[in-house]
Symmetry: C2
Subunit: 323 residues, 2 copies
């Protein structure tokens, strides 16, 4: 996702300047600029929302900022905003929700990296939170970000979005984050390390650990925009497929980059002995599934017409990215 313009041009050059109703003044879309503009919006809002570095206790404020402002691609928040815009949402009303999603995502990364979990020293090329701030502050920075995410939706979102929608959004996001979503995925992911490849288990992990929050990101954009239920259902269906495809492609990129095809097909991620999609289904089948999911995702939102074009391009980007 580091070169979205090139990737999209390569894939589908005719769509790079597609007409899109009511989206931009000149009624065309440059997808690279589209992504850059929304990523900048999200970055600026996060910068504004987060406690200043010198807010007491400083170690907490610094740890929160360190992990959130670490050059993330902001895929989930952009997905939320694109979904909001596709459903005719106006203005910046989705921005606090989009930022909350990134805060929830960041909290999960900090906790996943802990010594008692995946024990990772590096994240996005920088030392992980517990390496910089110690384990206790890392746990607490994650805890703080999850609570703060909800606080932001309520504090900033309620001025922009009716309370009924805010309640539904908060419930949707936290269900996606909790014991029926992301946390369940991480528990099973941890428990399956070193175990034999198993199709049902890897599907459960991917749907819960990554898929649930990505799906909720798309759905909450539609809810914030006040979309009718049938549209929310379509966006939700789109999000579930994009979310699963996202993680499968992660696995594929990891397998191809780190181990090459033969080793990756041997059953288990060699470093962590993690269960991955290619380890169960093989690389070619994994790629085919991801491509099929992206097609199904795009089909689901086809009725949105040109307004859904950024979502269509995001689905393409998910399966065709190189990082």
């Amino acid at each position: 996702m580091s070169e979205p313009k090139t990737a999209v041009l390569h894939l589908n050059p005719s769509k790079n300047h597609e007409k899109i109703d009511g989206m931009e003044d000149n009624a065309t879309i440059d997808f690279g600029s589209y992504m850059d503009a929304r990523r900048a919006l999200v970055d600026r809002a996060l910068e504004r929302y987060l406690p200043a570095e010198d807010t007491y206790p400083e170690s907490l404020s610094r740890a929160m900022r360190y992990s959130v402002m670490s050059g993330g691609k902001r895929f989930r928040p952009i997905l939320c905003i694109a979904s909001f815009e596709a459903c005719a949402g106006q203005g910046d009303a989705a921005l606090p929700i989009a930022c909350a999603i990134e805060l929830i995502h960041t909290y999960s990364l900090i906790h996943d990296d802990l010594p008692c979990m995946d024990d990772d020293d590096l994240r996005r090329g920088r030392p992980t939170s517990h390496k910089v701030f110690g384990e206790a502050v890392a746990v607490l920075a994650g805890d703080a970000l999850l609570s703060f995410a909800v606080e932001i939706v309520v504090r900033e979102g309620t001025r922009l979005v009716p309370s009924e929608r805010i309640v539904r959004i908060v419930g949707d996001l936290l269900k996606a984050a909790g014991p029926e979503g992301m946390v369940a995925g991480q528990v099973v992911d941890m428990a399956s390390e070193g175990k034999p490849a198993d199709a049902e288990t890897v599907k459960f992990i991917h749907r819960h650990k990554t898929g649930a929050l990505i799906s909720s990101s798309a759905r909450c954009g539609a809810i914030a925009a006040g979309a009718i239920e049938s549209v929310i259902d379509r966006v939700s269906s789109y999000g579930a497929r994009v979310g699963l495809a996202f993680q499968i492609v992660d696995d594929v990129l990891d397998a191809e980059g780190t181990f090459g095809n033969l080793k990756a097909a041997s059953g288990l991620d060699e470093k962590k002995r993690k269960l991955t999609y290619p380890s169960v289904f093989g690389l070619e089948e994994s790629k085919a599934v991801a491509a099929r999911l992206a097609r199904e995702a795009k089909d689901a939102i086809a009725p949105l017409g040109h307004a859904g074009l950024p979502l269509q391009l995001l689905a393409d980007l998910v399966v065709n990215r190189s990082s």
Copy 2:
């Protein structure tokens, strides 16, 4: 708090069967029965809300239940319900909110007990979560309970309480739990271990680590009941004082039970080298402050009249309990 009837009788026998408007059919209050009935309500609701033990992944469901259903006194949820009732709230509308508060409290205990935090092996006489389920599942069970708390308020609460109030309650609770509340208190608590006694720091820790959620518990009961702002302010003021008194009394009981007066007055909790109220202000002054806070708390809600009697008795109980 294990013998509320006796404690209250000892304290204020004339109030043990006080008339209380609209509270019970016979228009009197037996505080022991009052507490027992509401504790049972909370316990049954938690039992109903929590995922069944065999919900996949079982380790997570069992870990969530293990820590929540461990014989807690349910002080915070009862405070929320008492505040709701004092503000003329009707029926069980506060119950999901009360349960969510207990889930948030339990999440904080699980994380506080972790090896990288206070490294406690026992909690309420039983092995701590990480001793039973391992560190990874303990971190994740805590994470799950925080998300699940919000889910419960939204899923169960929205049927009973208007969305505007639910939004405000969720925001209030998560602010109390997050980087401006409980988490900040825990960060400073950890950072101050082994440091010299310091009045401002111990006040900050107590107000944030314990006080914020207790204060929010009282306030959210009033918000759920639809109280007017001036009453919410009074209940909030009550809650802040009761919350601070609660932690001061915890420190006093700990000091008297574990070390005796002389050691406790020496400056630091000897086992954990934690900053405590008696270590800074001495035992007698700590007791005097707690008693003053309880009086101020009761004064704040005096205008609620007889409807506020359970809140008055709860304030007495906090400072006069023996466990």
